[in-house]
Symmetry: C2
Subunit: 694 residues, 2 copies
């Protein structure tokens, strides 16, 4: 008796149940914030430095929001005029939430950094927990926010508009808002953080032999601000976007291919809600378990996945008691459950593969370290080759995942796999955000002249954080590739439904055939987008970093007292330079996907569709090779600094620093920004269908 009534109630209130889980997540995040705040923020000097970092980060984010808002308002008005008011409101909601996610990410990180440094003075475990909990707050807030934003928009919109069709169409507006802001946040933050980092390293480490975070380096505050606006704020906006877009994509595909059945819409929310519970249990695990940092973190991810895998089963069978109709095919609930498991498994597989290519424990990183012995050039060649090698296994597994989840439940099966993969974001972000917090904690420790032992604790955690960051980037780009494919599927479905609704025109069977030269041209043109996007982003970092180098050199020459510790460097100048550069340079690449889609739309829906696929194909390769290659370079340097191949100060180390510096814009600017960029292209294409194809 209880089971059927549960099934009915899932149909009635499945979305509300998911939203409840989201609220529980937010509540738990609030509890974590309280525990973090209850820790000591350290001595006055430490608080002063944390405040300086916070001030720079706030100032930058405020200006970024100003710049981006102008563009957002233009798009809002365009959507209002050409689509409908509700889609425009959705766009605004997505944009605001994405900005808020970024702000939250930054605030929590700044709160946690000095407290992590302080905790490191007493215990490594405490430092790990403080940093991890800081990351976990971001993870839970971002996921909770995304669930609530999409869910409430869907529920309230449904009530206001009185039409499922309309509200689901408007969800695409929300997706665009989230994606567009997150491209800006990733790019602006990425340019900021890497220009400061590269600039600080080039003069500080290589020319003047200063340690990382030495307070005599005029770019050091800018470098630490960068960690917060790039690795924390940018990443949080990015994950908010990926998560929101994955739900929306799954809802859209389910709605369009499953004959508008409500279960299809509810299921993705349920998966997301369940995994919030999984994430909370994983976070608790880190706070009670005593073991090596890496082991604890991996166990937490495993525990989360296990909880999700178990709870997915009743959710699936209760919501879909009978067979499931997708398009013209029929599937079983077991098959749908399998698709969800495939998503969870993909998380593990991608994490393991990226870990292999970027951890100091395995051959690829050690090969780069080895190549550093023969100089800068061989280090770079080895790193580039490693990045390219690193594309192979993820692409093969992505192929397998597509095939098997499609076999499970058609296009909806792929969407479900993507959603279940993304549902792990809560715990995965906890790992990712952990990195920049420990990085900053190290900066605070050095600048406030805490004992060396503190720095060595934060350094150890930082090395773990480096691998985790690389691993989560692999996860992000792989899931983005899959999510983009779902969006492409939505594009095609939407196109057909649009042509059906206006009558007359129609897409021929095989309109998107590779035999057509316009499809091939579309693939080429779309394939160009990630290359051009990456070129602009790398250029931006190079330019801005060059300006920082010149400013640092100028200060060191004008005030020789800086190097002896008598004069204080003018930190503000470097902060100013990178702020302006980042805001200026992010505009062109961030608008590229929109321009490409609009231009392609002139050549008709088929060329546009091919452009989307072309972008996904080369974007996936570029994204993986850049983030993995960059991570491998970074850790090859760390490996040498551990005393291998001559250790710090050796020729090999110098070469490794060059590799690390090249890897910086690779892995933290261009690479990760490709992820939201691909999705912006796909979402814009879906949005303009009714506007341009009449």
């Amino acid at each position: 008796m209880i089971v059927p009534s549960l099934a009915i109630s899932l149909l009635d209130s499945g979305v509300w149940l998911a939203l409840l889980c989201g609220i529980i997540g937010l509540g738990f995040a609030g509890y974590l914030i309280r525990t973090i705040l209850s820790r000591s923020p350290g001595n006055e000097r430490m608080q002063e430095i944390a405040a300086a970092i916070e001030e720079g980060a706030k100032a930058y984010l405020n200006r970024q929001i100003m710049s981006v808002s102008a563009i957002a308002i233009v798009i809002f008005i365009l959507l209002f005029l050409t689509r409908d008011w509700f889609t425009a409101v959705g766009f605004l909601l997505g944009a605001v939430c994405s900005m808020a996610a970024g702000y939250i990410g930054m605030r929590i990180a700044v709160l946690s950094n000095c407290r992590t440094a302080q905790a490191a003075t007493t215990s490594k475990t405490e430092a790990l927990r403080t940093a991890f909990n800081g990351g976990a707050v971001t993870g839970l807030l971002v996921v909770g926010l995304a669930l609530l934003a999409v869910g409430l928009f869907y529920k309230i919109g449904g009530a206001i508009l009185g039409s499922q069709d309309k509200v689901i169409g408007s969800l695409v507006g929300l997706a665009l808002g989230a994606s567009l802001i997150s491209v800006f946040a990733r790019l602006g933050g990425g340019i900021y953080t890497k220009a400061a980092d590269v600039g600080a390293d080039l003069v500080g480490k290589i020319e003047s032999n200063l340690e990382e975070d030495d307070p005599r380096n005029p770019a050091t505050i800018a470098d630490n601000v960068g960690d917060n606006v790039g690795d924390c704020a940018g990443m949080a906006a990015d994950v908010f976007e990926t998560y929101a877009v994955s739900i929306i994509g799954a809802v859209l595909v389910g709605f369009l291919t499953m004959n508008r059945s409500p279960e299809a819409v509810i299921f993705p929310f349920l998966l997301g809600g369940i995994s919030v519970i999984g994430a909370i249990l994983g976070i608790v695990w880190v706070n009670i378990r005593k073991a090596g940092a890496t082991q604890v973190l991996i166990e937490a991810v495993g525990a989360s996945a296990l909880v999700s895998a178990i709870l997915y089963w009743p959710a699936t069978t209760l919501l879909f008691p009978g067979t499931i109709q997708v398009g013209n095919s029929t599937y079983t609930p077991g098959q749908l459950y399998l698709a969800a498991l495939i998503g969870l498994a993909m998380t593990g597989v991608i994490v393991a593969i990226t870990n292999y290519y970027t951890s100091t424990a395995f051959r690829p990183v050690r090969k780069i370290a080895q190549a550093s012995e023969t100089g800068h050039a061989t280090n770079i060649i080895a790193g580039l080759a490693t990045g390219q090698h690193a594309t192979a296994l993820p692409v093969v597994f992505i192929g397998l995942a597509i095939m098997s989840s499609y076999y499970c439940a058609g296009l909806y099966g792929i969407a479900v796999a993507v959603m279940s993969m993304l549902s792990m974001a809560g715990i995965i972000i906890s790992l990712d955000a952990f990195g920049p917090i420990t990085d900053n904690a190290g900066g605070v420790a050095v600048m406030s002249e805490l004992p060396k032992s503190v720095r060595s604790v934060t350094d150890e955690l930082d090395a773990v954080g480096n691998t985790m960051k690389a691993v989560t980037k692999g996860y992000a780009i792989a899931s983005a590739g899959l999510a983009a494919l779902v969006l492409f599927g939505s594009y095609v479905s939407e196109l057909k439904s649009h042509f059906a609704s206006i009558g007359g025109k129609d897409l021929a069977d095989g309109a998107f055939s590779l035999e057509r030269p316009d499809v091939i041209i579309g693939l080429f043109f779309g394939g160009l987008l990630p290359f051009l996007f990456s070129a602009f982003s790398m250029d931006a970092v190079g330019k801005a970093a060059g300006a920082v180098v010149k400013e640092v050199r100028r200060q060191l020459q004008a005030h020789p007292g800086i190097m002896t510790g008598q004069d204080k460097p003018e930190y503000g100048n470097c902060v100013d330079i990178v702020t302006k550069a980042a805001l200026k340079e992010m505009i062109v690449p961030a608008l590229l996907p929109i321009v490409f889609v609009l231009v392609a739309s002139f050549f008709g829906p088929v060329v546009l569709g091919a452009v989307l696929v072309g972008t996904i194909v080369t974007g996936l390769f570029m994204g993986i090779s850049m983030t993995s290659g960059g991570g491998a370079w970074d850790n090859a340097k760390k490996y040498i600094e551990e005393g291998n191949h001559g250790g710090k100060g050796s020729l090999a180390h110098q070469a490794a620093v060059t590799g690390d510096t090249v890897g910086d814009p690779y892995k933290d600017t261009a690479g990760p920004a490709i992820n939201p960029m691909i999705k912006v292209a796909n979402i814009v294409a879906i949005l303009i269908i009714p506007i341009v194809f009449r």
Copy 2:
């Protein structure tokens, strides 16, 4: 009266006429060899060095032929058993001719290098002509050989087999032989030349402050041998392949889509034949015109293209007096002529674009030089970004060319455009081969201690040669992308005709639609091939170069007398190391395309087709970005050496040397080898259709 009879005679003897042009080209090459041989080979020391280089190059090529022959024999037997004896014979012919082309390229270069050095002692113009004529011999021999091989095989095969269908099917075997050998030649030669070059530079230039080609550098002979086996032999084999495959592709497409009409088969031969005459006139132009080197060379290309453009008109209208039927559409001779002109125009466009990105006169190279001021890392970032930027315009123009030539005459229009683009190979190769000859002449001059003025003449010509080399690589990869598309078209046509012939199975309309997940997976899997191929090639160079560095360091430490000039270095050791490394490391990447195609064929003809397209898409981007980026790095170094940004010995120069070194495997190993690699994949796919899809 005369016109109709000419038309009839073109139908009868068009191929023979083209072959006659090929023979005229060979005759003219013979004449050029005589004029080169009549020049003084220089003093005894020069001849000794040239002989040492020749000996190393011969030894390497002989061993390469041995290694490759083993693989070729296996494939010959497989073809014999699974296809038919004539295809197997075609394979053998293609392989032998490709090897011969490589050998010829190397022999001529070695004959010309000391003579160019000797000519440089008296006059720059004479040095230019000697080097250019050396390149021209290779150009004419390669093109003539390709025309004759394909033409005679077609004519004699037709007579023996008594069936057009069979002989044209067997042509694919010839294409495979040519392509496969050229992948090996490009890769083996590329690994050899760049391992030696990088190794020599890293210790010689950076660690020991030796000039290029200093006889005290133990790797210097290996470096010069490398120019001959890589830039000359590898390039000659590659161009032979591209040319042969372009004719074969055009013949195949014409035959399959134009209802087996003989004109369709004759036309590509005619275009090739005509352009041999154009090339000869261009070569004569260089030998009579007095002006700056770059100007003369550009004029020669223009003159060649003009002659071809004029002669194409009567050839087209005589061969096709009425309308032309391709598939279900009808075209005019004027449209076909336009397609041929598009190919010629594309040559000019691609040359101009690549020149912009790789010449010291324009912004991209200067930006890299500028970025070198702030160190190794910013140089690398700028170079990587430049390579990515450089993909944009070529891809846009390739798209335009595909669209417009398809509009002219369907798939056959694209094939004709490719063939007319490739028909320029005779003159284009003359430019390309000119580079390594002057490079070697410089080496001979320095090693035999000729006056500095000689070296400055060869250096000036070398800089021109650098740009020409980069430009011709852009031409090669762009034409390869187009040629591969034609091959993909042949694959689809062949597939349909195969299914029609065996009855039963058939390809659904829209079988290759992007809506199918297996097509997407195929695109991903195919897109992986160039990344993996490049990763293996770069790794190979890095590994082999590291071994050279260690050997050079060992020699310099063990025999301090080398640096003072008292001891003679053991050149042979380095030659041995790179020979072994190149032969060993080329095997895996060269076999990758075959493995990929065989694996993909298990998943059916649709996945295989998508794999081919995926490879073409990412291969084009990788090829262009690597060759252009590498060329830009090279010339950024040259630009600094001209005295900009601090000139030789400055920090900027050191950074630029790093960039140049990274660019070496980019532009001379991985990048250009992608070109034949894409085609091997496509040809193997065509060949295995009747074997695997039953």
